[in-house]
């Protein structure tokens, strides 16, 4: 077991952890905006860390390049989607949850 393999394992485990926290957040958070935040964590931190972990395990540069391109697309698109969703919800007048409110 080399250092790179350990590092990649840590990255993959961290990525999986963020995916699970995103899923838990989606179920547990009280309103639309906080749930978008949870989903954003799944897409950016979760998928990003998993892709980085896979990147350390590649032996061919072609596969690595593809993973990098996928990573780039995830980095660009998922925050855009979260941002647009949140802004559309604001424009639509979805109220923001405050401490003490009930779940929506």
């Amino acid at each position: 077991m080399t250092v790179i393999e350990v590092l990649s394992g840590v990255l993959l485990a961290a990525g999986a952890f963020f995916v699970v926290t995103g899923a838990v957040g989606l179920v547990r958070f009280p309103d639309f905006y906080t749930r978008i935040h949870a989903v954003g964590v799944t897409d950016s931190a979760g998928a990003g860390l998993i892709l980085l972990g896979l990147l350390l395990r590649t032996t061919e540069w072609e596969v690595g390049l593809r993973l990098l391109i996928i990573l780039l697309f995830m980095v660009i698109t998922s925050p855009t989607a979260a941002h647009t969703l949140a802004q559309a919800a604001r424009r639509d007048g979805v109220p923001v949850w405050r401490a003490g409110d009930t779940r929506r």
Binding site: F73, I76, T77, T80, H83, T84, Q87, A88
Partner: protein, 329 residues
């Protein structure tokens, strides 16, 4: 092996849960998003079965373009499902139970999963395609060889289906129908600055990826159908964000109407050309009699281009028809 089975079972569980959730749902926007999830899970299952070409099509068509088209339809009609009276549900339930029971009964005749003695493995034609195609065409992806050359006529039939669907939608919603209302300016997503900049940046990459999928279909997953859908989704994204007027400046409707039949005509014309060159219909050997493998590759490339052309233009103009209709109400 156990991990593989576990992944399969979980994906099937998600698939079943999604299907159940769709049937329980009254709000059709949510149901549409769940059908996209259904397609995504189906695509993942296809990947597990090593059918990457099918998975690619499922991801591009099921998740991408058909979701957008369904949302376009929903913006034209009511977005809540009408409630069916309870006594009228009984015949439907009987039909569903009967069809499901028949399928379950028939599934008992299927060979077990991963069995080494299925007809697909044992039949001599499998060996022929896998071995012979390397001598006939020298293309690594046998799926492309079968789709575009050995079974070229079937693919022509599929393209005719796509063409007919496109023409039908255009007849119902397109230029031949009368418009009474002046076109109103609807809310344009380009008001969101981040979305505008990001989709502008992504647009060339989407089109480049479509070209890659089209011309790389000989070596990896992909081909004309997938590339056409990716092309269309590029233009659909542009139309969604910047509005119908802007995208029609880039891609005028008249150009689309010329391009829709052009792909089909290219495909059929290639068949006629091979007949005139002395072969049978879609026999690409006649294109280069001195080097038949190169002739086959040329024919496959032309056919894939023709498929991509028609699929892309049909999908784009169906989207244009729906959104143009929405803007004119």
């Amino acid at each position: 092996m156990t991990a593989f089975v576990l992944v399969n079972i979980s994906l099937f569980a998600i698939l079943g849960a999604t299907a159940l959730a769709i049937t329980r749902m009254r709000a059709l926007y949510e149901a549409t998003m769940l059908t996209a999830l259904f397609s995504l899970v189906t695509g993942s299952l296809f990947v597990l079965l090593d059918a990457v070409d099918v998975a690619f099509t499922e991801a591009a068509v099921g998740v991408g373009i058909s979701t957008v088209l369904l949302l376009g339809v929903l913006s034209l009609t009511r977005s809540r499902e009408a409630v069916t009276p309870r006594r009228r549900r009984l015949p439907a339930a009987l039909v569903v139970l009967f069809a499901g029971g028949a399928l379950g009964y028939a599934a008992q005749d299927l060979p077990p999963f991963g069995s080494a003695t299925t007809p697909v493995r044992d039949h001599p034609v499998t060996e022929t395609y896998l071995v012979q195609s390397q001598q006939d065409m020298g293309i690594p992806n046998t799926v492309t060889s079968v789709l575009a050359s050995y079974r070229g006529l079937d693919t022509l039939g599929e393209l005719v289906v796509v063409f007919t669907a496109g023409v039908t939608v255009l007849l119902l919603l397109g230029p031949l129908t009368r418009r009474n209302h002046p076109v109103k300016k609807d809310l344009v997503l380009a008001d969101y600055r981040v979305l505008r900049v990001v989709s502008g940046v992504l647009m060339p990459f989407i089109l480049l990826f479509a070209l890659y999928v089209l011309f790389h279909g000989d070596y990896g997953a992909g081909g004309g159908f997938q590339a056409g859908v990716i092309f269309a989704s590029g233009f659909v994204l542009y139309g969604l964000v910047f509005g119908l007027d802007r995208v029609q400046q880039v891609l005028p409707q008249a150009v689309l109407w010329v391009l829709i039949p052009l792909g089909l005509l290219l495909f059929m014309g290639l068949g006629v050309a091979t007949v005139l060159l002395g072969g049978s219909f879609l026999d690409y050997d006649t294109l280069r009699p001195d080097d038949t493998a190169a002739g086959q590759r040329l024919g496959i490339l032309l056919v894939e281009t023709a498929i991509g052309l028609t699929v892309a233009t049909v999908m784009t103009s169906v989207f244009f028809s729906f959104t143009g209709r929405g803007a004119s109400r």
